[in-house]
Symmetry: C2
Subunit: 210 residues, 2 copies
């Protein structure tokens, strides 16, 4: 009955969603499961392992794009990217975990494979496929992490992130763009536009040496 492990991961995930990642302590998880903190260690070797477990959960949710098998390669990449962002929107605390944890669970490898196949189908020379896979996954994860951490919304969230109003004389770019700055950004549209650009990049790479 390994169901206890799943129950633990459920609890950890719920706590993270409700009170943030910092609130995920062994004691908190244990209390939620209705058990003593030390009991967790019978099912999870470490706290690190516990965190690995929950990123595993999230990665599993990334895959089930099973209906997409017939679609074109660029649509499949788009779907995967949007799935990834959907996850980090639902679980903002998870973004930086996806980055730091090497995350070589079977599901993660499967996700990478989806990208590999798409790139091959796009006509990328095989030698270049791994590099471009890293490029697009880096961008998608980076976007997701930036959004989750509030890097795209300076001024929102942390109060210390109010721009220090330094003399605009030092900032030719900012003063030139003043009309467009400070108006709200539509991150949905931006992510879509960025993905379009990245897909165009891929197509260009395929043309260069196909």
């Amino acid at each position: 009955m390994g169901g206890r492990r799943e129950e633990i991961l459920d609890a950890a995930l719920a706590i993270a969603d409700e009170h943030g990642l910092d609130a995920v302590s062994m004691r908190a998880v244990a209390e939620r499961v209705g058990v003593t903190p030390m009991a967790l260690y019978r099912h999870v070797s470490d706290k690190a392992a516990l965190l690995d477990g929950i990123v595993g959960r999230l990665l599993a949710a990334l895959l089930p794009s099973d209906g997409d098998r017939g679609r074109a390669w660029d649509e499949r990449l788009n779907a995967l990217a949007h799935a990834c962002r959907a996850i980090t929107q639902r679980h903002p605390w998870a973004a930086h975990l996806l980055f730091s944890r090497p995350a070589v669970t079977p599901d993660a490898v499967r996700a990478v494979d989806v990208i590999y196949c798409a790139l091959i189908e796009a006509g990328i020379p095989e030698r270049e496929v791994p590099r471009l896979e890293r490029l697009v996954s880096t961008f998608v994860l980076g976007f997701a992490a930036s959004e989750a951490a509030g890097r795209f919304n300076p001024g929102t969230g942390d109060p210390r992130s109010r721009r220090g109003r330094l003399p605009d004389g030092d900032l030719p770019g900012h003063s030139r763009l003043a009309p467009w700055l400070n108006l709200p950004v539509d991150l949905d549209a931006e992510f879509k536009a960025d993905l379009d650009d990245v897909l165009a990049l891929i197509k260009a790479a395929a043309r260069k040496q196909g």
Copy 2:
């Protein structure tokens, strides 16, 4: 005499370089400065503020590309990107800090401005400049963070990151690319190639609506 604050940041940075970010505790920093833990709070409001302070230090090191003022826009972007990666190579623990901390110190804003100016000079329509700035900074930071966290070198570092050798039947992409996988990646060359592709993306965006 605000020199004490700098001394504290120096100590914190040294500890992080020598023993990793987790070793940066208030007590450790205090001991290195030769003072009681609580004395730090006279110069630094929080541990969070202390971390903000050291990312400020790193960002300051990002800027002094003062000799590049005459160069072409793409060379300036390249220089900035390489400077960023150089920092996270020297201080791998800092990569994810650069991501998560909104980091709206004056120096950070100045760095953004450098990118703004380069994009304007590249002929990007002003409306699109902020988006593309976020795109390139996201990619550069993402690459740096991935490299620092070992995401690009599965198998190295954490022992748990040995791929789970799951049946290759499920992984058409991997088995197709087998010859190219598992041979060492030259991340210097990869970063250069990626930047070339991103710059090409920018040039394409400039052409589309210049």
